[in-house]
Every structure is written in structure tokens, then in C-alpha cells.
């Protein structure tokens, strides 16, 4: 039993990333405040990053693919940044017109 604790394998990182992802999803599902939801999305993206790098490190070996993982992780970070920016801009405008940023009350598109 203790070997699983000490011998780090790829799946450790993967399961960690999965846990982080689940927490992110929980955040998105359960929280009302838009910003917390945005942050949870960031968490989910980070989880993805961890997975990419874990696989890149675990499987790439000498093969040049090793760097593919990292470039992708980089791109993910960039996209995350862009997404955060636009998302927060929307949240700000919503706040300005509605005086609140609770997602569950934004139901205009219902029917």
C-alpha cells in the first residue's frame, strides 16, 4: 500500500488533475457569483495543463513530442488569459446594468 504513496507515477498527477477538474466543475455548478465561476474555469484549465504535462513527461521520452506538450500548455495559458479578460469584461458590464452578477438570475434567454 505504501508503494503507491511513495512511488510517484503518472497516474498520481492525472488523478490529482482530475480532482482539481472536479472541484472546478463543482465551482461552476454550485456558485452564484460570476467571478467565482470564472475562477473555477481557470482551475479547470489548470487541471488540463497538469494532465498535458504529466503525459508529456510520462510518455514523451526523448522523442521530440516532449516539447509539444509544453507548447500546448503554453497556448492553454494564453487562451485562459484571453478568456479571463473577456469574461471579466462581460461580468463588469452585467454588474453595471444589473447591480448584481448572480448567474442564476440572468435568465433572459429562457424562452
Amino acid at each position: 500500500m505504501t508503494s503507491a504513496f511513495y512511488d510517484l507515477t503518472v497516474s498520481h498527477f492525472l488523478i490529482l488533475a482530475a480532482a482539481l477538474f472536479m472541484i472546478g466543475v463543482a465551482g461552476v455548478l454550485l456558485r452564484r457569483n460570476a467571478i467565482i465561476v470564472m475562477m473555477s474555469i481557470e482551475l479547470m484549465l489548470n487541471a488540463a495543463n497538469i494532465t498535458i504535462l504529466a503525459f508529456s513527461r510520462g510518455f514523451a521520452g526523448e522523442h521530440r513530442a516532449a516539447f509539444q506538450g509544453q507548447t500546448f500548455a503554453l497556448i492553454v495559458i494564453a487562451i485562459a488569459a484571453a478568456e479571463a479578460a473577456v469574461g471579466l469584461a462581460i461580468v463588469v458590464t452585467v454588474f453595471r446594468s444589473r447591480r448584481h452578477s448572480d448567474i442564476d438570475r440572468l435568465t433572459l434567454l429562457k424562452n
Binding site: V25, V28, L29, L30, I103, D104, T107, L108, L109, K110, N111
Partner: protein
């Protein structure tokens, strides 16, 4: 032995044409002053002329070609054909489908000739009478139109060569009686009477229709000529349901039809109410012609009834019952026309007995005589009511002898005729029926059945004489009981009404001579008997001889003394009836009868008889009320609630509920949808992944059974531990780890034959989750071979 004649179809066509002119054509042509008015003269002349023309034409046809053919037929010796075809004409093929072929064809033979003369003769007289009676009536053209239509339909009925054509006439007259009874439809009472008549007739027609179908089913033909053929006769004799012959069933159905039309016991209720119509209508339709259609039909189908003595027994039995029953009911009636109505029902009973015992000639003879004096009676009643400004209540009449001389004389003659006093027609015809009944015996009948019928009829004859003369004395003798106002109006009817009365009275006396009784000794001319012989079945026919070669239905050639004796008895019965009536009602309503009514028993009897034995109320309760109830029930419960409410609207409601549920879930909250996604995903994963566990087993030699587990292709099956527990003791008997791809067989031999419970458990190598499945294994004995069972 039949001749085709071109003119036959004209007889029914003439009155129909008259009706068409009166009902449709004259109205349109005559200058309508806003309301369709046409001159009365034009109406009644067209009507009377058309019926008169029909009468003249039929006299010509009967006198000419038919008389020749009759003489030729009579002179034929032994080999003469039994049935003389008479004049025949087929206008066009009406319905021709597959083997069923019905032509619109007419046949005039001796029987229909007699009916023809009665209908057109009396019809013309009544048309003339109606001119006076219906004077000033607003719907004058309609009345005469319907009367002509009726005569036309009756002629079709009489001349019809096949049963469906007769059926046209049969229902046609039913329609006309509906229209004419309900002529004064302003009051609902009359309209109801009309409807009641039509529906009662319709019940009869229901049986008539089924009779036609069964007849065709048996003999493959519907017209009278083919039905006489040997093949169809033999078909009639083969047994139908319940051991009885086919002829019995067909005969019974047609008899029910006749009951409906001729108002016999079960279906007579409509005739007394039919008096709501104008009196000439009652005279023509409900005395002379329509009601006798049933008797004519049975006479026409004599060949069929002759082959089923049980059917004849039923006809005679019901006839006798009706005769007696109606006579009793007539005692207590206070309305003039109601008494005559019950008398008609009773006299029809006599005719049915005559026809029922095989004495068809007697039945038809009574039909003819009854037509004359009953029509006369109704017309006389009409002129009395005409005089009494419309009221028919005999308690308000009396002493009209001097005031209405002509009506009184004719009324007296009719009463004597119907009571059966010697010179008058009634005596001879009624006596012939009584004599026939007395001597009647047939195969399969109770020995004294004839005598019983004779006794019942004699009592009925007594009753007839009694109530007729009760009527006579109440109306004509004693002092006038009318109130002053109507008394002042009493006047003799105009000649156009009284002349037909006198003519009919003359006939009522003379007509009796055509049917003189059979006397061995003295050879009296039996005109009617010989005349009708070619149309009716003669019982010496080979097919009718029973086992011993005797005719199955005998009329019993009684000795002269017997016939004269019977005639004497009948005369005495009539006289006794008249005497009793004189004693009680000689001078107006009798005090004795009134006293008798006070007594507790007498009053009760009087009330029951007066209310016509509550038969109408019985029908209302037993048939009409339940009919309305079921109708309402079926509509409200079955149709509206059951089918509509539950099935149709019910399913719509369910769909509505489901849709509302879905609408509640979609409330625009994005996160709620995401939760839905997550839960859905989880469920899918959960159900998709649980391995479908199971095992197959095969029984090899003896009790050795091989088990082969098959595990669903779940990811974690590799290296799973499979354990079998054969004897259900909880701990596994055999366990092995599962290697996918390699086929794992676990042999185990059971104790013996029978079925055992085997459980297999699989534990997941990774998560140590246990999956269990138990199945019963049927181990067969060595002989029944292998029993393979697959999951």
C-alpha cells in the same frame, strides 16, 4: 297456365298517379295565393276517378282473361296443374345480384282478384264518402293524396308476384296509415298514435324481412311461382333448427309480420289508438283493407303453411285468443270508434282461426264480408259523429233513430250482419269458420284442439253480438242524452255520405250467398270455394299426405245434420247476444250494469276491462321505458364518459401533464442544465458499465453438467475471481480466476434428476466488487436427452 297481360301494372299505377297529381302536381300548377291552395273539386275528382278507373280495369281483367282461364282450368281433368298462374306481368328487374333475382312483377290470380275487387270497390265508396266528411278541411289535397297513395300501395301488396314486391306494398301501406292516422297532427296525441302504428308495423316488417331471407336461404327463390315447385317444397320440409321443419320457422316469421300488420295479440295495441285518424281512413285502412293484408298473405302462402301443422296451430291459437280477448275489451268502451276498433281486432281473430285451421276459403270469405259491414259500420259511425259535431262519446248519444233515419237503417243491417243473423253475410262466413274449426284436425295437433277453437270462437261470437247491439241501443234507442247545444245541430248527413252507407248495407246482406255451406244432400252453389280453389293449396297433394296417406290437414266432411246443427247453434248464439244486450241496454244506459259496477268485484272488473287490461301501460313499462333508459345510459355513460371522457380526453390530459412537467424543469437557469448534464453523465456511466453476468450450462452424460460462465465485457473483468456454489450452502464449491479469451468450463455432477439452484459470484479484481447471479438448473434423466439452457 299463366298469361302475360300488358295492363296489369296499370291497376296499382292509376291510384299512385292520382296521389302524385294531388300531392305534387296540382299544388304547383294551381295559382297559389301565397299559400298553396288548390280547388277541392279538382282534388277529389282526380282521387275518385283514379280509384274508379282501377276498379273498372280490374273488373275488366277479372271478367275477361282471368274468367276464361278459370273456366279452362276447371274443365281440365285429373292432370290439371294444381295452381293456376292467372295473369302475370313483369315490368322490370328490380334487384338482380348473384343468384338473387327479384322482378317488379305483378300476378292476378283468383285470390288476388277477390282482394282487388274488395279494395277498389270499397275504396271508391269510401273516397266518395270522404268528399262529404272532409269538406272544409284545410289539408284536403294531402288527405286525398294519401288515400290514393294507400290504395296504390295496397294494390301493389295484393298483386305482388314475389315477396319483396309484396313487401313494398306492405311497408307502403304502413307509411300511409302513419300519415293518415297522424293527419290531425296538431295535437301530439294523434301524432303519437301515428308513430305507434308505424313502429308496431315496423316490428312486424322486421320479422317479414327475416322470413324472406330464410325463405331464400332454404329454397333459393322468392317469387310465388317458383316456391310452388317440387324442389322448393322439399327444401321447405327439411328440418331447420330444433327439429322443426324449415316451413315452421318461415311460417312463424311471416305470421309475426302478419300480427304486426293485422293487429293480433302481441302487436294489436296500435289499432285502437289509430282511431285518432279521420273516420273514412279508419273505414278503409283499419277495417277493410290494410288489416286484412295479414290474412291475405297467409292465404297466399297457403302452400307453405300447409307443410307445417305446428305453425298453423299457432296461427289458429293466437287468432282465437285475440278474438275472445278483443271482444271482452269492447264491452266497456265508451267511444264509438274504439268499440268498432276492438270489434275489428276480434273479427280478424276469427279470420286467422279460419286460415289457421286450413279452411282458407272460410278465412277469405269472412275477410270479404267483414270488409263490407265493418267499413259500413265505420262510415255510419262517421256520419253519427258528423251529426254529433265530432264527438264519439256514446254516453252522450241516444234516440238518434228518428233523427238519422238512413244512418240508422244501415247501422242496424251491419249490426245484424256482424252478429251473424241468418240472411246477412256475417252469418254464413262466421258459421263456415266455426264449422271448419269444429271439424278441424291435423297431424301433430291435440285431438280436441278443433273443438276448443270452436268453443272459444262461439263465446267470442256471443260477445260480438252483445257489444254490437249494446252500441246500437246506446246510440239509437232510448232518449237523447246530448246537451242542448249539440242536440240542436243533429242533422242527417248529406247524400254523398249516406248513399255509400246504403250500398254497403245492400252488399252486407247479399254477399253472404257466395259462400253457402257445403251440404252433401242439397247441392248448393259454392261459388267462392270453386273460385279460390286454383289459388290455394289443396290438401290431397301428394307432398302433403302424412305417413298413412291421409291428408295431414283434414277439414272433416261433417254430415249434413252436423253442419245444419252447427248453423243452428251459431244462430242461437247470435240471438242470445242480442237479447242480453236488449235486456241490459234496451232503453239507454242500463241501471243494472251501473249497480253492478258499484259492487266491489264488479267495479274492479269494469275498471280493468275499461282500461283495456292495462296492456298499454304494460308495454310502456316493459319495453318503452327500458328503451329510453338504455338509450340515455348508453349515450351519457358509454359514449360521453367512457369512450370520449376516458380514452380520448384522458390521453390528451396525460400528454398535457407530461408537457407541464418538462416546462417546469426548463427555467432558464444555465447551472440547472449543467447539473442535469452531470447527473445524466453519471447515470449513463453507471448503467453502461455494470457487467451483464450469466452462465450457460450443458448436461453431458448422466448427471454431469458443464458450466460455462460468460461475463459482460466490463473493463475490470480481467483477473476477476469466479466462484460457483452448486449446493446453495453459501460457501463456494469451485473458484477460479477468469482469463478473457480462454474458454473456462467448470464440470460438476449433481446427485440425481431434478432442478437445482446454482449461484455464480464474480469479484472485481480492482475494486473487489461482488456480482452475483443465481439460476435453476434442470437436470434431466438419462432418457430425455440433453437439455441446453442459454442465458
Amino acid at each position: 297456365m299463366e298469361k302475360t297481360s300488358k295492363l296489369l301494372f296499370l291497376i296499382p299505377l292509376l291510384p299512385l298517379a292520382g296521389a302524385f297529381l294531388n300531392l305534387f302536381v296540382w299544388r304547383v300548377l294551381s295559382p297559389s295565393t301565397g299559400r298553396l291552395r288548390q280547388s277541392d273539386k279538382l282534388t277529389h275528382y282526380t282521387a275518385i276517378l283514379s280509384v274508379l278507373a282501377a276498379f273498372v280495369l280490374s273488373c275488366y281483367l277479372i271478367g275477361g282473361p282471368l274468367w276464361e282461364q278459370f273456366n279452362v282450368w276447371r274443365k281440365l281433368g285429373e292432370g290439371k296443374p294444381e295452381i293456376m298462374g292467372g295473369l302475370h306481368q313483369s315490368v322490370w328487374t328490380w334487384i338482380e345480384v348473384g343468384s338473387l333475382k327479384i322482378n317488379l312483377a305483378f300476378r292476378l290470380d283468383t285470390l288476388s282478384a277477390v282482394m282487388l275487387l274488395v279494395i277498389t270497390g270499397i275504396g271508391t265508396l269510401i273516397h266518395i264518402y270522404s268528399v262529404g266528411y272532409m269538406h272544409g278541411e284545410k289539408r284536403y289535397p294531402a288527405y286525398f293524396g294519401y288515400l290514393n297513395l294507400f290504395t296504390g300501395m295496397m294494390l301493389i301488396l295484393v298483386l305482388g308476384d314475389s315477396l319483396p314486391v309484396m313487401f313494398i306494398g306492405w311497408e307502403g301501406v304502413g307509411l300511409c296509415s302513419y300519415l293518415l292516422i297522424g293527419f290531425y297532427f296538431d295535437e301530439d296525441k294523434n301524432a303519437n298514435a301515428g308513430r305507434k302504428a308505424f313502429i308496431a308495423n315496423r316490428v312486424g316488417d322486421f320479422a317479414f324481412l327475416l322470413g324472406i331471407c330464410l325463405l331464400f336461404y332454404a329454397t333459393k327463390s322468392v317469387n310465388f311461382a317458383d316456391l310452388q315447385s317440387a324442389a322448393s317444397i322439399s327444401a321447405l320440409k327439411d328440418t331447420f333448427v330444433g327439429g322443426e321443419r324449415m316451413a315452421f320457422m318461415i311460417g312463424l316469421l311471416f305470421f309475426i309480420g302478419a300480427c304486426g300488420k293485422s293487429a293480433q295479440i302481441p302487436l294489436y295495441v296500435w289499432l285502437p289508438d289509430a282511431m285518432a285518424g279521420p273516420t273514412p281512413v279508419s273505414a278503409l285502412i283499419h277495417a277493410a283493407t290494410m288489416v286484412t293484408a295479414g290474412v291475405y298473405m297467409i292465404a297466399r302462402m297457403s302452400f307453405l303453411y300447409a307443410h307445417s301443422t305446428t305453425a298453423m296451430a299457432i296461427v289458429a291459437g293466437i287468432g282465437a285468443l285475440t278474438a275472445l280477448f278483443a271482444a271482452i275489451m269492447a264491452f266497456a268502451q265508451t267511444d264509438l270508434k274504439k268499440v268498432l276498433a276492438y270489434s275489428t281486432v276480434s273479427q280478424l281473430g276469427f279470420m286467422f282461426v279460419g286460415v289457421g285451421i286450413g279452411a282458407y276459403t272460410a278465412g277469405v270469405f269472412h275477410l270479404i264480408t267483414h270488409a263490407f259491414f265493418k267499413a259500413g259500420l265505420f262510415l255510419a259511425a262517421g256520419s253519427v259523429m258528423h251529426a254529433m259535431s265530432g264527438s264519439g262519446d256514446i254516453t252522450k248519444m241516444g234516440g238518434l233513430r228518428k233523427l238519422l233515419p238512413r244512418t240508422h237503417i244501415s247501422f242496424l243491417v251491419y249490426c245484424l250482419a256482424i252478429a251473424g243473423i241468418v240472411p246477412f253475410a256475417g252469418f254464413f262466413s262466421k258459421d263456415e269458420i266455426l264449422a271448419g274449426a269444429f271439424g278441424a284436425h291435423a297431424e301433430g295437433w291435440a285431438p280436441l284442439y278443433g273443438k276448443f277453437l270452436w268453443a272459444v270462437l262461439s263465446v267470442a261470437a256471443l260477445g260480438t253480438a252483445f257489444y254490437m247491439f249494446r252500441l246500437y241501443f246506446l246510440v239509437f234507442s232510448g232518449e237523447n242524452r246530448a246537451d242542448a247545444e249539440t242536440k240542436s245541430h243533429i242533422h242527417e248527413s248529406p247524400y254523398s255520405m249516406t248513399i255509400p252507407l246504403l250500398i254497403l248495407a245492400a252488399f252486407a246482406t247479399v254477399i253472404g250467398l257466395i259462400g253457402l255451406p257445403h251440404l252433401q244432400g242439397v247441392h248448393l252453389p259454392t261459388i267462392l270455394h270453386d273460385w279460390l280453389a286454383p289459388s290455394l293449396v289443396n290438401f290431397e297433394r301428394p307432398s302433403l299426405l302424412d305417413a298413412k296417406g291421409l291428408p295431414s290437414v283434414g277439414e272433416g266432411h261433417a254430415s249434413d245434420a252436423m253442419t245444419l246443427g252447427l248453423m243452428g247453434v251459431a244462430l242461437v248464439v247470435g240471438m242470445v247476444g242480442i237479447a242480453a244486450a236488449y235486456a241490459l241496454y234496451g232503453r239507454g244506459p242500463s241501471a243494472k250494469v251501473a249497480k253492478m259496477c258499484e259492487t266491489e268485484l264488479g267495479g274492479e272488473v269494469h275498471r280493468v276491462v275499461y282500461n283495456k287490461f292495462y296492456v298499454d301501460e304494460l308495454y310502456e313499462a316493459s319495453i318503452l321505458a327500458p328503451f329510453r333508459a338504455t338509450a340515455r345510459f348508453l349515450y351519457e355513460v358509454v359514449d360521453r364518459f367512457l369512450i370520449d371522457g376516458i380514452i380520448v380526453n384522458g390521453s390528451a390530459y396525460i400528454i398535457d401533464v407530461l408537457s407541464r412537467l418538462a416546462r417546469w424543469f426548463q427555467n432558464g437557469q444555465v447551472q440547472r442544465y449543467l447539473v442535469g448534464v452531470v447527473i445524466g453523465g453519471a447515470l449513463i456511466f453507471y448503467f453502461a458499465s455494470s457487467p451483464k453476468l450469466g452462465f450457460k450450462y450443458e448436461q453431458k452424460a448422466g448427471n454431469l453438467v458443464e458450466f460455462r460462465p460468460d461475463v459482460g465485457e466490463g473493463m475490470d473483468a480481467k483477473g476477476a475471481l469466479i466462484e460457483f456454489d452448486f449446493d446453495l450452502d453459501g460457501e463456494p464449491d469451485h473458484s477460479a480466476s477468469f482469463v478473457p479469451g480462454q474458454d473456462m468450463i467448470v464440470p460438476y455432477s449433481f446427485g440425481g434428476e431434478g432442478s437445482y439452484k446454482v449461484t455464480m459470484t464474480m469479484t472485481d479484481s480492482v475494486f473487489k466488487k461482488k456480482y452475483k447471479v443465481t439460476r435453476t438448473v434442470h437436470v434431466k434423466g438419462p432418457d430425455t436427452g440433453r437439455e441446453g439452457g442459454a442465458q
